[in-house]
Assembly symmetry: C2
Homo-oligomer: 337 residues x 2
């Protein structure tokens, strides 16, 4: 049985959402969960659920990383935090994966430096999965682990993203694209032009440049970009979806007829909401780190926590890190001729 | 009366949408319009409207730039195109502004090299106005004129964008922000950190970094970024809005009750659509070019063309280019001590 170390104190609704999500996961999935955090608080939350016989165990941690802590402060000064303790459980082999919905920057830094990097990877990449227009899932990476990436880093992100896509969605040859500002090869900036040249030489199924407006079209499975642009793309998508939802709500409240109409359409709206609900998609893995790390959204509800645990367990079972080491090693050897 | 040179052959629905938009503008606004393009075709389209006595004039051009022409091909090989002829009318002082809904890359290149740049500006910037959550408008620039910008370029974009915002929306001290990946000063990449340092020293009302998710919040009037990221942000917003609309439609078609509900809510949906309709916002000015250039969306309908002409006329009246020359000259002198 796979063991997951869950940072029970991360996230806006911690530890309530974390504990309930862990109970759901322990019931539905074949996983053992270490709930890491302030012992008394977690015990109290656990008491709200029927959990007898479930593979859940509390691991005490005296401190908590807050959302306002800087990554370096969290890394250097909060060694007794639930995040550090959970990361050490993975480093020391007592758990196979770390799951946290806490401060993203802090989780990335602690995972990178406490658990350590895979030997063939220069920089870790955060991968975000989202529903596309074809009712499938696309993945974009890096969405925030790195800025000022070099072409060789983006090439590594492409290899890692492709392996992640195969592991979770089972596609044999995922299509890999490069986020840029035109479909033609000559378009883009220095970074994307050099990266495209490398990807064309690689063994990946590289389909070329992907424009911003095609990101959601579903013509590509894995989209590669620098973390600066990926993070803006991710945040912008969240902000715009919220903005559109707000405008729609306002418009509907405008008249009795449309309020009645809304009541009749409620099932449709709920369906719509579910399809755009990030919590179904289970958090973002930080690829390139030894052991598995999955970062949940700060606003994670119990369902989101459960799905983040599910993704972490699937990644463990898929042997993703062994595959990343093999394929990046092979491509390095190939590049050397 | 201000004279506008309209590229009547640009845009997906040209010349029909262009001619109808020009007729609307000539009726409603205090402008004279030169309809540039294939004479016979434009005459025919004009015949569909009551236009006697309106300040409209046809200027013949033998060739047309297509959406698939590369910017350099359009610039070098299509000198008899409606785009070139319209640009020369501005260069030679026979019109004050160029309006085109054609091939964006071609319009930018022809405007830049045929009309020429303002002497104090290194690179032109394309500015996109969009409705924000506060029912106001925010502007983002550059959305595609330049890639691999340097900090001094972004600083010039900030000055030009701020003057544009004052000219069209009348705000005395528009708030200027920098698109980045965190609100803290230390966040971002090399480019944004150096640019932020410059903007803090400037006389602009600089409010700091703006994250992707805050782009639509309306806490900032002018958002500055490199053209690579700005173009992706623009295209991504268009693509996502379309994606969300599509999902909503699909959800609504799912049941009779929700279809009935939709019928009752139709006014609300129409209101919603109007608020997200780019055609109300009148095209994107290419700032930094001598004379005024406004680029419409390829899919421009007559209303969008009319609004692009309105924005072009307002920019002419505001004396935006004189202000840009003065303020950039002043800031250069200040920088030299």
């Amino acid at each position: 049985m796979i063991t997951i170390a869950l940072d029970a104190m991360g996230g806006d609704h911690a530890p309530r959402a974390e504990v309930e999500g862990a109970v759901l996961a322990a019931r539905e999935l074949d996983v053992r969960i270490l709930l890491v955090g302030i012992e008394e608080t977690i015990k109290q939350e656990l008491g709200r659920h029927a959990h007898r016989g479930l593979p859940l165990q509390i691991v005490g941690a005296a401190d908590v990383v807050s959302m306002s802590d800087s990554p370096s402060h969290a890394f250097r000064r909060k060694k007794d935090s639930s995040l550090h303790v959970a990361a050490r459980l993975v480093r020391d082999g007592q758990a196979s994966a770390l799951v946290s919905a806490g401060n993203t920057g802090a989780v990335m830094t602690v995972a990178r430096f406490v658990i350590g990097m895979l030997s063939s990877v220069d920089r870790p990449a955060l991968a975000w999965a989202f529903p596309n227009m074809k009712d499938k899932v696309s993945v974009i990476l890096d969405v925030g682990a790195n800025v000022d990436s070099k072409p060789e880093h983006l090439e590594q992100f492409a290899v890692m993203g492709e392996i992640y896509y195969r592991a979770i969605w089972g596609t044999k040859r995922p299509r890999v694209g490069l986020l840029s500002i035109g479909e033609e090869e000559t378009k883009g900036n220095e970074l994307t032009r050099e990266t495209a040249a490398r990807l064309r030489q690689s063994s990946l199924l590289f389909v070329g440049n992907v424009e911003g407006r095609d990101m959601f079209r579903g013509n590509v499975d894995v989209i590669v970009c620098d973390g600066f642009i990926g993070n803006i793309a991710l945040k912008l998508s969240e902000g715009l979806a919220e903005h559109i939802g707000g405008m729609l709500k306002k418009a509907i409240k405008g008249s009795i007829a449309s309020q009645l109409g809304y009541a009749l359409s409620r099932r449709a709206f709920n369906e719509f909401r579910k399809r755009t609900d990030y919590s179904e998609y289970g958090g973002a893995p930080l690829l390139g780190v030894r052991g598995i790390t999955v970062i949940g959204h700060g606003r994670s509800n119990p369902n989101a926590i459960k799905n983040a645990i599910r993704v972490a367990a699937e990644l463990c079972r898929s042997g993703i890190n062994e595959k990343i080491e093999q394929e990046l090693y092979a491509s390095t050897v190939a590049a050397r001729g």
